[in-house]
Symmetry: C2
Subunit: 160 residues, 2 copies
């Protein structure tokens, strides 16, 4: 093989966005799948309820896009919600904000080093990979909660 | 922004490989963190023990690289192990096989449509994204098992 085969594209920015929003649709369905009383009321000891996990995911997602796009890394937003409906509303707002801001990310930012939220130094692509991986990781924990509650979770492979 | 900003590279093939092997090091540490009796003996009902999950991950990882690299999609390998040490040995063999085969993947295969294992039709990049996402998803479940067993899991963000 020529060395050139490894300088090709694995994933373009718009392909990453589509992949991420597909995962975010799955996470939205996981939030929806929790019975209202359990979204902030149930947990597998000693872990957090899934509602608190969802708030962490919201604190990272759109703010990371905003930071990479604009260089404006405000302090971690602390979104607040105490019901499933409030979480879903925040989720949809974040979906729209990500969709709007993503095309504004300058070419090259994905390979450029920066400091996110005043403390995490890495290249842009790794900041986003951390956000999506953290979402998949914690959502997998949500699947355990749902199974333990006797609720069938949404299909992992269904992203539409 | 110009349209060109979205045709740049989010992730190159070698960047994806490095990212994946970093995750695989975390998963290896999760396998190691289970007490020997619990790797195939413990589960959160109604889910599988983590040892069985790890065997699923092994059945997908190196065989997908081999398939995309060579077009040879043999039937799902069914790796067998019943102890933590056997799992770790299979894990290390897969790590080496992935490392060897990855540079042989022809340029363009990541954006090319193909049928994996005779049944999953998608472009190369999505087949690999499925493999890594499935690993992160199920490993997150392993973290719940470890926490429930009173074992501190390895740091999610430590990839070396």
């Amino acid at each position: 093989m020529s060395a050139g085969s490894q300088s090709s594209v694995f994933l373009s920015p718009s392909q990453f966005l589509a992949h991420w929003q597909g995962h975010r649709r799955v996470t939205r369905r996981v939030i929806e799948a929790f019975p209202e009383a359990e979204v902030f009321g149930y947990r597998v000891e000693p872990m957090r309820p899934f509602g608190e996990i969802a708030l962490e995911l919201l604190a990272m997602a759109a703010p990371t896009v905003r930071g990479v796009a604009t260089g404006d890394w405000e302090a971690y937003a602390s979104p607040e919600a105490s019901t499933r409906e409030e979480l879903l509303r925040l989720w949809d707002e974040a979906t729209n904000e990500i969709e709007e801001l993503w095309p504004q990310i300058p070419a090259g930012r994905f390979q450029e080093r920066m400091t996110a939220f005043g403390q995490y130094e890495d290249v842009g692509r790794n900041l986003f990979l951390y956000v999506i991986d953290n979402e998949i990781h914690h959502r997998g924990q949500g699947y355990v909660y749902l199974r333990a509650l006797g609720v069938e979770p949404p299909a992992f492979w269904e992203r539409d």
